[in-house]
Amino acid sequence: MVLAEVVGSTAAIGYGLAAIGPGIGVGLVFSSHIQSTARQPESSRLTLPYVWIGFAVVEALALLGIAFGFIWQGTL
């Protein structure tokens, strides 16, 4: 007897969980940049390239989540 059933892909739930970490990380990157710029406005140009590098490196994790969600879809 089936009491409750869930159909569809759990990949969406998995990706939701996987996006938490990068979400926090990206938030931290930009919050640090805003804070440092507020404290020392002329440092903005100096730190901006590092903001984008940091953003890209952190964001890669979320994007791996998207890619692998599709790659492993239906294999497990």
Binding site: W52, A56, A60, L63, I66
Partner: protein
């Protein structure tokens, strides 16, 4: 309303594999598709544009010369020199080509009636990442010499007993994760962007075909598509910039003295 008859929803990976053009309509060989056409178009546009812009360089630049000079100047000053230092000028031509190629290829994602980026197929970002990988490793080897370069990038200044742990980590992060993450980042951004636009566009039609009273919701969904297209423009420029900046920072790491 005719369009809404049977819209496949939700969109899937299959939507990225466009029908074959040469041979026409074939299902087992895909020699030439819209994706191939777009990549050739990008190469043609870039070659023709930069050649004509620099054909007769003038002291007071023409419009196209101004555009070409500002793109090159931006990459040269704001990416190459800022990231790598004075030595970065040598890499500016490669980085400019990379930037323009990625930008234009990404940009097809939001051009009406084209609306798919070749970079949403892993093959193109992977190839670009491999080229960048070769560039930064060969730059390091040419600058330091083979042995010294690998010693410098693999062996951090640390006590000897921790080295068996650190060397594999350094190897993994520098020589394996870097090209992989470069390719995946660009690919996944373009892939997810296209998917997002598909969900909102096709979702509108799907709701409409389910019930005609959902028309207002469908219109909201299509308006969302327009808003997301602007977001997508931001992502397109950002990813072209990020790919170039990361390549520059890898080159900088390869040329740096010490660890």
């Amino acid at each position: 309303m005719v369009l809404a008859a049977d819209v496949p929803f939700p969109p899937s990976v299959e939507d990225f594999f466009l029908p074959s053009i040469v041979p026409w309509g074939a299902h087992d060989s895909y020699w030439f598709t819209k994706i191939t056409a777009l990549v050739w178009l990008t190469s043609a546009i870039l070659i023709v544009f930069f050649l004509t812009a620099y054909r007769k360089p003038q002291l007071v630049p023409t419009k196209s010369q101004w555009l070409a000079e500002s793109i090159y100047g931006f990459v040269r000053n704001n990416i190459s020199i800022e990231m790598i230092g004075p030595r970065g000028v040598r890499f500016a031509p490669y980085l400019t080509t990379l930037f323009c190629f990625i930008l234009l290829n990404n940009f097809y994602g939001i051009v009406p009636f084209i609306q798919i980026s070749p970079n949403s197929h892993i093959a193109f970002p992977a190839m670009l990442a491999i080229i960048s990988y070769i560039v930064f490793i060969s730059a390091g080897i040419r600058h330091h010499g083979f042995v010294k370069y690998f010693k410098m990038s693999l062996v951090p200044p640390a006590p000897w007993f921790i080295l068996p742990l650190l060397i594999p980590i350094e190897f993994f992060s520098t020589f394996m994760v870097r090209p992989f993450s470069l390719a995946i980042r660009l690919f996944a951004n373009m892939f997810a962007g296209h998917m997002l636009l598909l969900v909102f566009t096709l979702g509108g039609f799907a709701m409409l075909s389910a019930n005609l009273w959902l028309l207002p919701v469908s219109i909201v969904s299509w308006l969302m598509t327009i808003a997301l297209t602007f977001l997508e423009f931001l992502v397109i420029v950002l990813q072209a910039y990020v790919f170039t900046v990361l390549t520059a920072s890898y080159v900088q790491g390869a040329l740096a003295e010490g660890h």
